[in-house]
Amino acid sequence: MKLMKSSLFLILGNLSLTKAGWIDPDTPEDKRTTRSFVDGTVYDLVRQKKEIIGSKQFNKQNSYRFAIVYVLL
């Protein structure tokens, strides 16, 4: 029973990681780039990179994604 629970946890965890992207799937393709009014440079819409944050508060144990999983269970 314990094993089943942890498997379920992992599956939901993966699902959650796939779905909870930092770019909203509803963002239209033509809004995924924008142009600087200063020099015309085109900027891409990017997802947040975990390594930029590098904080312990964002590791797997404390990630909101896993918090969501707990709610689901």
Binding site: K31, T34, V46
Partner: protein, 251 residues
């Protein structure tokens, strides 16, 4: 990152949303502009509907025994508005690039008293949590200047900066406003002393202004300030005036 707010009925109560947190507390900020905000932020005032994020402000009293974290004492406090503040604090940080926001300002541009804003604050401080922002906000100063040392909690003059921060490095929570707006006289609404009454707009860099010039007012008039109020009244930033969205971005 992006968020279109297309999913209806989202809740932003602490722990409910992956990107945002709606506050459940008083706005205790007392600034040079007024004797403290009259808001009590309630996360239930923030939700999503019809593909938009909605922050609903109402006139509603909230009274409680308040602990003043600066004076370290309890006092009875009354707030006259219930509204919402949505924060990304400690959830995602913006380190550079362009931010785009489509928004409609609340209320009617001819009725003042409100001070809606879309703005950023360095993650070192958390807005409305005074104990975290006192002498931190809005400092970005990283030079040792003996005249400026005292009001900056984490100064470049300090041999020892606490909380594990580097010595001789000034730190702070810098404020960058995408848009702040005061429409005019508050009229019959409860107001601060002095009131939030200035026809006032604070926008970041040229892009917001670009929109301002293109759609509302030309540069000459703006500089002369003679049609400032007219600009706001005529523009399409308020629901009452137009259903058009206003867009801001900046490098």
């Amino acid at each position: 990152m992006s968020d279109e707010f297309n999913i209806p009925n989202r809740s932003f109560t602490d722990g409910h949303d992956n990107m945002w947190t709606g506050l459940d507390k008083s706005d205790d900020d007392s600034s040079a502009a007024g004797g403290g905000s009259l808001h009590f932020y309630n996360s239930s005032r923030i939700t999503t509907a019809n593909g938009t994020l909605r922050i609903n402000s109402v006139i509603k009293k909230t009274e409680w025994e308040h602990y003043d974290t600066v004076k370290k004492e309890f006092k009875k406090v009354t707030k006259y508005f219930e509204s919402g503040m949505l924060q990304s604090w400690n959830k995602f940080c913006f380190t550079g690039g362009i931010i785009e926001v489509d928004l409609i300002l609340p209320g009617d541009p001819s009725i003042g008293g409100l001070w809606p804003a879309a703005w950023m604050l360095g993650n070192l401080g958390r807005a409305t949590y005074e104990a975290s922002t006192n002498m931190i906000w809005p400092w970005s100063y990283n030079t040792c200047d003996r005249d400026l040392q005292e009001p900056q909690a984490i100064s470049a003059c300090n041999k020892q900066n606490h909380f594990g921060l580097n010595p001789f490095q000034g730190r702070g929570a810098t404020e960058i406003d995408i848009l702040e707006m005061m429409a005019g006289e508050p009229g019959t609404l409860p107001s601060t002393e002095p009131p939030i009454s200035l026809p006032y707009a604070d926008m970041t860099l040229q892009v917001s202004f670009l929109h301002f010039f293109l759609f509302t007012c030309d540069r000459e008039h703006f500089i002369l300030n003679s049609c400032f109020t007219k600009c706001i009244l005529d523009c399409t930033w308020y629901t009452q005036r137009s259903s058009q969205f206003w867009k801001s971005s900046f490098p």
